[in-house]
Amino acid sequence: MTAATETDRALVDRVAKGDRAAVRLLFMRHHARVYRFVVRQTGSEMMADDIANEVFLELWRQAPGFEGRSEVSTWLLGIARFKALSLLRKKKEDWIDDDDAAQIPDSADTPEVVTMKDDKAAALRRFIDALPEEHRTVIDLAYYHGQSVTEIGEVLGIPVATVKTRMFYARKKLGEALKAAGYDRGWP
């Protein structure tokens, strides 16, 4: 456990006692990441703005019940994920399971077209953005949010094995896209 994590928990304890300064400090510390997470989930900055605000109001409401079983950042991302899914369901978005996701073609330019214009790093970034949402989310949570396999399972409400499967397919698709674009990295 890091000192920063302990401080997060101490702040949640203060929030539970009605300390508004503590919730504002947690907002300053975590808002950007929560906001970015929701933008990546929903593709909508407007929706992300509303949801990120709601996440911290939910923190204010739920702080007395926070038992510290997960990191505060994991807890917040889990709330954000739930709210994003709820809102998207209300908007009658179709969601897909793992098997379907593996078969969905990317909507972006083909790898060949992209790489004619971009170097490898830029191409890789575009391939990450073009991953199916389920796969891109585990990539984001691991690489950007620093979440463990178990924590990603908590945020997404899926088993650890499914987290690994999604990570496997996400990285496999990235490797295949790079290979098709002329950057063979030797796997898959």
């Binding site: 808002h31 605000n53 970034r125 990450i128 950007y144 499967t165 990570m167 990285r171 796997w187």
Partner: protein
């Protein structure tokens, strides 16, 4: 047998690499990845590819800029939900001053920052046994004078809340300033010159940074 269980050793290692890189891997899985990295010639190349993904993912996320007024709108929503604000028990007058300070634009806050910095240093003398705060502005007890530092001027329109989040994220502290020209001295807890330069580059790349001048670097190389 699940799909995960059917993976080859290479597949399994490639799946775990992102978690190795983010430092969350432990136990048998950590040992397995470390052993793979030490024994398989292809592993280091694979690690390099994962690092490229790491950088690409970070860049894709950080390209998304949260609204600058998010904190002030949240504060209003919180007040609407929780009722009129009152000072929480145990919160010092200095903490309240700091929170008000965080909500104003940097251009307005320069003078306040100088005053607040002085107050923090004074408080470290008058409340030596007081409860710790969450300030990112450093107190005198931190002995920041010996730390590596850079001189940073922020854009007038930058928000202190954005700056505070950034400083907190990278363990940076305001060690002094602002000068008459609005320059702050930022203490950088880097152990090597390479780490120092990375952090200075990172500061310079932030949209709220107007100018960055390198100051004292760590003594060690690398």
């Amino acid at each position: 047998m699940s799909a995960a269980e059917k993976m080859s050793r290479r597949d399994e290692m490639e799946t775990l690499l992102p978690f190795y890189l983010n430092g969350s891997l432990e136990g048998a899985e950590l040992e397995a990845v470390e052993e793979w990295l030490a024994t398989d010639p292809a592993a280091l190349a694979a690690l390099g590819e994962a690092e490229a993904e790491f950088s690409g993912t970070a860049a894709a996320n950080e390209a998304i800029r949260p609204p600058a007024d998010a904190l002030s709108r949240f504060a209003k929503a919180l007040d609407a939900e929780a009722g009129p604000a009152r000072a929480p028990a145990g919160q010092s007058w200095l903490a309240q001053a700091f929170n008000r300070f965080m909500a104003v634009p940097v251009g307005v806050a320069w003078a306040a920052a100088a005053v607040l910095l002085a107050l923090v240093m004074v408080q470290s003398f008058v409340q030596p046994g007081g409860k710790g705060s969450d300030f990112e502005i450093a107190g005198a007890q931190d002995d920041l004078a010996k730390m590596p530092f850079a001189l940073v001027k922020f854009k007038p329109e930058a928000k202190m809340s954005d700056i505070a989040v950034f400083l907190g994220e990278y363990g940076l502290k305001i060690a002094g300033g602002p000068t008459a020209d609005g320059v702050f001295r930022i203490a950088i807890a880097a152990e090597t010159a390479a780490d120092y330069e990375k952090l200075v580059s990172l500061i310079a790349a932030q949209p709220f940074a107007e100018a960055v001048i390198e100051g004292r670097k760590p003594a060690s190389g690398g």
